[in-house]
Each structure stands twice: as C-alpha cells, then as structure tokens.
C-alpha cells in the first residue's frame, strides 16, 4: 500500500483542549465582573470559604448565573450546528428557524394563563418550539416535495416574527406584574438564574445533548443529502426527526430559563468549522465549549456595560451576530 493517511484526531483533540482552557478562563473572568467589583483574591476566597464576606454574591448569584449561561450558550450552539446539518445549510439556527420564537410564545402563554413557574413553563416552551419547527417545515414544503433551505430560512423568519407578534400582543393586554414576569422570555437574559433553574435546564438539555452526540455520524451523512445518506447507511428521515426533536428540546430548555437569545447557534458553529472541520464528532463538543464561553462573556458584558442596569444578553449576541450573519449571506450568495 505505502499510502500514509494523516490522522486528524490529534489536532482535533488540541482544539478541544484549547477551547476547554478558554472556556474555563471565560468563566473565571466572568466571576469577577458584576455590579459589585471584586478582586480575583476575593472571588477565590468566596469560592473556597462559604463564610467569606462575598460568598453569597459569588455562590448564590454569579456561579449559578455563569453555569446557566454556559449551559444555555453551549446548548444553542450545538442546536445550531445540528440544524445546519439537518437543513444542509450553514445559515440555519434556532432563532432564525423560528424555534426560539415558538418557545418564547409558549413560555409567555404559560405565564399569562397563570401556570406555576418552572416545569410547566418549560413544558409549554417545548410545545411551542416543536409546533414552530413543524409549522416552518410544512410552510417550506409548500413549494415542492423537497425542502429548499432558502425557503426554510424564510419560513423560519416569518413564523418567528409571527410568534413574537402574538407574544407582544398578549403582553400588551396583561397587567404590569405579569408583563414583567413574561417579558423576560422575549428579551433573553440570565438575571433570574438560580441553582434550581440550572437543575431544570440540565435535566432537559443533557439527554438532548447526548442524543445529538449519538447522532453525530448520522449528521455527517445527512449533510450530504438524503439519497447519499441512505446510500452510506444512515436512515436519513429518522436521523432528521430525532435531531429536530433534540434541537427543539435544547432550544426550549434554553428559552424557558433564559428567554430568547439569537445568533449564538449561527456564529459559533460557523467559526468552528474553520478550525475543527465540519465532522460532528469534533464539531458538536467544540460548539458546546465555544458557545458556552461566548455566552458567558456576552452576559458579563450585559451586566457591566451599563451597570448597575443590565442589557439583555440577546442584545449583545445580536450586535455580534448580525454583522457575521450578513457576511455569511453575502458569501453564500456568491
């Protein structure tokens, strides 16, 4: 034979190690930022000693907030990467496909009709997310038997806009107290972070992430188109169905604890394909780490730029994400 095929595993591991180190650094950095300025020494003391003066701020506010931000950002980035393979287009993303909007509407409805916060809101957000992606899929099928990715994005934006409009209409006629509770889901943020929110999020997101990890090679094949995926041994429609449900669950879990946050799922996977390549066993873990770090930093920015007031974190991710989206659109058109 005499042909040497280079192993691609080593550089991929290296990228994962670097991303992991970067993620840890981002979390430590974010611990020090906030309405109350703390030195690294004070942060460290609070982490090590529950009796230290800043222990409450760090342990009950900032650490759960960072954990939640990391999980949500990672989940959205993984969901974006998976959707891009499902749709066969690098422009797919939970927010652009209307899934986030559907989840947001579900959450708002749950709050307005007076369901108890927590599980029931999360369940309604999940139903909203699934309904939205089903509707987007149906709408984009109208043009023909095969789904045109560009039509799919268009349908996603339309359904997302419709869901936002309905949410806004509902909020307009509710009392101010409910408005404040429900508006959280329309302008994403981690102000409501708590350990119980982290627990609720993890319980839904971890299984969905594991399912997508299990589907990683199927997603590699699905990105080649249905005929080729079948020819190479992937049950294309089953992989697609499972992946869509898993991404809807991830999006809904994210929306139900942190509201609608756009563009993380678009920007992060795209940037990573340049470094780890498009194969999902490398891409999905990398997307989780980078999406988590990106969102934790965006949230640190949201907390500090106008402190003590807070910007919605979705504002920061949109400010970064929209120019990149525009760039992607230009490239995909050429």
């Amino acid at each position: 034979m005499g042909v040497s095929v280079p192993a691609t595993v080593a550089p991929r591991r290296l990228v994962h190690a670097l991303l992991f180190a970067g993620a840890v650094a981002a979390c430590l950095l974010a611990l020090a930022f906030g309405a109350v300025d703390l030195t690294p020494a004070q942060v460290l003391a609070a982490l090590l000693d529950p009796e230290s003066p800043d222990a409450a701020i760090i342990r009950e506010l900032r650490v759960p907030r960072i954990a939640l931000g990391f999980g949500v950002g990672g989940a959205l980035a993984v969901a974006g990467a998976a959707l891009q393979a499902v749709v066969g287009n690098p422009l797919a993303e939970p927010w652009l496909l209307g899934i986030s909007g559907g989840a947001g509407l579900g959450a708002v409805l749950a709050v307005v009709i007076g369901l108890p916060p927590g599980w029931s809101v999360a369940a309604c957000a999940t139903l909203g997310a699934l309904a939205a992606i089903a509707l987007v899929y149906r709408v984009s099928l109208v043009a023909g038997r095969r789904v045109d990715p560009r039509v799919l994005i268009l349908a996603g934006v339309v359904v997302g806009a419709f869901a936002s409009a309905v949410s806004a209409a509902i909020l307009a006629v509710t009392d101010p107290f409910t408005f404040r509770a429900a508006a959280l889901w329309l302008f994403g943020g981690f102000a409501g972070a708590s350990w119980s929110a982290v627990g609720r999020f993890a319980l839904a997101a971890v299984p969905a992430l594991l399912v997508l990890g299990w589907l990683a090679r199927g997603l590699d094949l699905l990105a080649l188109g249905d005929d080729t995926a079948l020819a190479l041994g992937a049950d294309a429609s089953r992989v697609r169905r499972l992946a869509i449900v898993a991404t809807a669950v991830l999006t809904a879990a994210s929306v139900s604890v942190a509201g609608v946050i756009g563009f993380v799922g678009l920007v992060v996977p795209h940037a990573l394909r340049w470094t780890v390549g498009p194969l999902h066993r490398g891409l999905l873990p990398a997307a989780f780490l980078a999406g988590g770090a990106f969102t934790v930093l965006a949230d640190a920015g949201a907390r500090t730029v106008l402190a003590p007031a807070e910007l919605p974190v979705g504002v920061i991710t949109a400010l970064v994400g929209v120019p990149i989206f525009a760039m992607l659109l230009r490239r995909s058109a050429s």
Binding site: M1, V3, N89, D220, L221, T228, L230, L232, P278, L279
Partner: protein, 274 residues
C-alpha cells in the same frame, strides 16, 4: 449472495403513470451489470428502489433473500454501497475525510476509526487515483475529481455489491477507462457491480450483462452483444444507430449523423421540435 428485483412497479408520489412497470432483473456476485436506456426510462428509479429510497407499489426487491425494507439501514450499507447520481455537500471536507464517511455505517455511532478503516481508506484513495489529493478540500476539486471521491467513498465501505448511477459523468477519457478497468478488477475479486451509464460502447467492452430500459420496462436483458443490437437500440433511443466492427472484429456502436441516414428521413417524433 445476490440482489433480486421481481416484477416491480414504482410510482412517484402524485405521478399519474408509474416510472417503472413490472421490471425484473438480478445482480450476482462477481458480475458487472450495465443498466442502459434513454433519459427518463426508469434506470435511476430502479437504482433507488434497491437502496430503499423508493418503495415499489408492486413486486419485491431482495438482497440476499431479504426484502430491502427489512434490512437495518447500517447492515444493508455494508452489503450494498452506492453512489447516487447527484449530490451537493453542504460543508466542504478534506478528501480523506469525505472518503472515510464510507466507513461510518460500519463504525456505528461511537467506535473510533481503527487501522482497518485507515487501510480501507488508503486502498480506496489509491484505487481512485486520489492519494495525491487526500489533503485537498472537496470544494476545490474539479467535477471529475469530485466524482472519483464519491466512487472512492462507496469503495471504502468494502461492500459485496456496488451500485453506481452514471459514474462516468464528468470523467475524462483516461479516468473513465480507469474507472471501468477498476470495476473489472473489483468484479474479479467477487464484487457484484451495477453501473448505470449512457456510454454503450463501454458497456459492450466491459459489461458481463446489459439490461436495457425503455419507458419504464425492461426491453432486453442479456449479453452485451445480444442486447446492444442495431434495430433494438434505434427503436428504444429513437435515433438510428449502426453497429460497426473494429479492426479486431469487436463491435462498436456509432449513432448516425442525419445526412448519413438520409436528409429526407424525418426526425424521430420526440425530437421534431429541436
């Protein structure tokens, strides 16, 4: 082991007429079967029923005696590997990564890429003359190079049967000949190959058997020289074809120019408007 197609009728959703009607054919290990016929005569439809992409409304397709639909997808692809006609990859890969995708069904969701997989990859790259391109991105390849990557990917699966839908498309003369030489080599190694092609002279020179489709039915099935007959081809393709002898006596098909079959002869009805 063989692939059997028994009397299938296949209809696309919402189509008035079936695309394939009561067609039967078989593919055995160690034979090169060429499927030929005019555009839209049902060749690719049959290809897709073997893959299970399309389900026939009548008749059955079996692989090793088992209905295609009853095979677990990953198991089937170890036995039957295929290269569909068209494909637009969403994300560019390195050539060696793209070819390694042919191993995914064997590896399942978690098994790491092992020495066997790397050996199969190296062999597939070498056989398709791609070794020098292994590091290139699939988005930088010419049409012919990309076609060879897809053939190599199907080979990397190390199947018992290889199905190729127009593998010669976009290949230059040398690469197309090299491909058919490779197919003969695979067949000599016991693999059954089904290739759809419009290149009837290659079928004459390389195939063990030719199945000719016409309007969704099998018009002929047999040895290349028996099937690729002047009168039959002229009728099926609707264009006069002449069978000529090469210096060594082997037959060669030549579609005739209009002035060769008489300018006064009207064009076949389906070509009149052109």
């Amino acid at each position: 082991m063989s692939i059997r197609i028994d009397g299938i009728t296949v209809r696309y959703p919402r189509a008035a007429e079936p695309a394939v009607r009561d067609a039967s054919l078989g593919l055995d290990a160690g034979e090169l079967l060429v499927v030929a016929g005019p555009n839209g005569s049902g060749k690719s439809t049959v290809f897709r029923t073997i893959l299970g992409t399309l389900v026939p409304e009548r008749g059955r397709v079996t692989v090793d005696g088992r209905m295609v639909g009853d095979w677990p997808r990953a198991d089937l692809s170890r036995v039957v590997s295929a290269m569909p006609q068209r494909e637009e990859p969403a994300f560019p890969l390195a050539v060696h990564e793209a070819v390694l995708l042919g191993r995914w069904a064997r590896l399942g969701p978690f098994a790491p890429v092992g020495p066997e997989d790397r050996a199969a990859l190296a062999r597939a790259l070498e056989r398709c003359n791609l070794t020098g391109l292994a590091q290139r991105g699939t988005d930088t390849l010419s049409g012919g190079e990309w076609q060879r990557v897809r053939v190599a990917r199907a080979l990397a699966a190390e199947p018992r049967f290889l199905l190729l839908d127009e593998p010669g498309t976009a290949l230059d003369l040398a690469h197309e000949m090299a491909l058919f030489e490779l197919l003969r080599e695979l067949v000599a190694g016991g693999i059954g190959v089904l290739a759809i092609t419009h290149h009837l002279n290659l079928a004459l020179r390389y195939a063990d058997r030719v199945v000719l489709f016409d309007h969704g039915t099998v018009a002929a099935d047999g040895a290349p020289r028996a099937v690729l007959d002047e009168a039959l081809l002229s009728r099926v393709f609707g264009w006069p074809v002449s069978l000529q002898a090469l210096p060594d006596g082997s037959p060669h098909l030549v579609p005739l120019r209009r002035d060769e079959f008489g300018a006064t002869t009207p064009l076949p009805p389906h070509l009149e408007s052109t």
